[in-house]
Symmetry: C2
Subunit: 300 residues, 2 copies
């Protein structure tokens, strides 16, 4: 498969899919980008913005693309992934386009979801499992839809490749090239530890922001007060609370056990603060804050 002949099919033309479409084409990784988008308004917008060369039906996209990117919420991706691999298998049997000299299908499918275990489990025994590479590019904003897509979204961030040993070598190499084109660092991890880490470093941030927004909205019936008093600190802490329910409901429910564990740890830490403040115990408040300050060493 020559890079200069690569057709990339992107299922879901939102923030992530749309931003990938822009940079994969602009940077020469894809010679053609096909898009699939079930929402007619979004599909029309994606065409108008010029994110993809054309919007086509799902099965056509899978048949015509050398590499398919599932950029839909994880609940939908879990259903689509076996369907994509089924089409790959059928095409191999039919000897259709996409096979190598020995008639084996060389097409590839990746997903870009925030949880990985449910996906790798869903296709563990699929005969075309080797053509799937589970990935998680760690990038995004709190906005969604084709209007939120932007060039350079992935530059300098980490792309996690999960359970690479279950994918064919050539598929992993091509996906590494794809993330190179997006200027991303590769990180290798197994799917279950990915989901634990994602719960701790990403998913909990969203839950804390949602809860913060609910708390403030609950108390401050007068929205003008929130607006007037919102310093930059509040705005940045609550930013993720704008995130889309379609994306986050399946993440939080599919990564249920890890998310529950981290919420429990988090509530425990909040209670330590609460008790120290309630007891007027300034030394404990200080040592909690100074402990938390260690995050400076890690986050810019």
């Amino acid at each position: 498969m020559e890079q200069d002949k690569m057709t990339v099919g992107i299922v879901g033309l939102g923030l992530i899919g749309g931003s990938m479409a822009i940079d994969l084409k602009r940077r020469g990784f894809a010679s053609e980008v096909l898009g699939v988008e079930s929402e007619p308004v979004n599909a029309a917008a994606a065409c108008r913005i010029g994110l993809v060369d054309s919007v086509v039906p799902f099965a056509e996209c899978v048949r015509r693309s050398d590499l398919v990117v599932l950029a839909v919420p994880v609940g939908a991706a879990v259903k689509m992934l076996p369907e994509v691999l089924d089409i790959f298998s059928c095409m191999e049997k039919d000897g259709a386009q996409g096979g190598d000299t020995r008639g084996r299908c060389r097409k590839i499918v990746i997903d870009v979801c925030s949880t990985k275990e449910s996906l790798v489990k869903a296709v563990h025994y699929h005969p075309a499992r080797g053509r799937y590479v589970a990935t998680h590019p760690m990038a995004g904003t709190e906005y969604s839809g084709p209007w939120a897509a932007m060039p350079g979204l992935f530059d300098g961030r980490a792309a996690i490749i999960c359970d690479g040993h279950e994918s064919d070598n050539d598929a992993v190499r091509t996906v590494e090239r794809l993330y190179d084109a997006l200027n991303m660092r590769h990180i290798y991890m197994n799917a279950s530890s990915h989901d634990v880490h994602a719960a701790y470093v990403s998913h909990i941030s969203h839950v804390t922001s949602f809860a913060l927004a609910l708390t403030v909205l609950d108390k401050e019936k007068n929205e003008k007060h929130i607006f007037d008093l919102a310093s930059g600190g509040f705005s940045s802490t609550v930013r993720l609370a704008k995130s889309n329910a379609d994306m986050w409901v399946p993440i939080l429910t599919q990564n249920r056990d890890n998310v529950l564990q981290v919420i429990d740890t988090y509530i425990g830490k909040m209670k330590q603060f609460r008790d120290a403040i309630a007891d007027d115990d300034e030394d404990s408040v200080r040592s909690l804050i100074e402990d938390a300050n260690r995050i400076k060493r890690i986050i810019r």
Copy 2:
């Protein structure tokens, strides 16, 4: 008091005091800026950076300044404020510099702390109470010290003036001009409702960030994982966890009752999330997220 002859004394040359010093001088509100800084390293830095015209002892600063800004943590400000007013009273008795034609002291002192009730209570019956204006400029970053000071920090933000009816009219007018020079909107509020709103819109954001940092640091003993997996979302949510303990211990303990109430509301919201996820109740998770999304209307 002519604006072109105004000497401003700033007690505490950190992020807030230092940034005020820069813009009040640059924009012509102050003809001279005196600084007080108890930490020798910070005092030397403030001189080297050129934040103030000179660093002088506390009492000298109060005697020589037309307007004194207490830009120290609220615990220290509560002790200093009566001392400043005492000096004002003494100078009035002595007929020293700073009196009007009837010998009344026309000097002004403001504070810029995040909690107001303890301050206004501390000087409620002071004979020079009218010369104090309680204020809270809603601006800042997670950094501290003279090195963090910057021009333009306050531009476009809100400056809250509390219990203005307890201050002399001319003092309030002058303080309004000061915040005009910093390009801030004025908001008027009583001290106790300021502290409630500040707990809900600002203080809780810091507590949730501290707790998030503690949760992640607790679980992720391997700091490299945090670094690798930290998306922009985590970084912005945890940003405030870098905030300084010297500033935040007194805020959280002095605003104790309001902060406890908001922490309790917050823990309640977290538990709603927890229960909905534990019950695999996708509808409830969705409705919590969509409720939280209302913050979009208020925060850019």
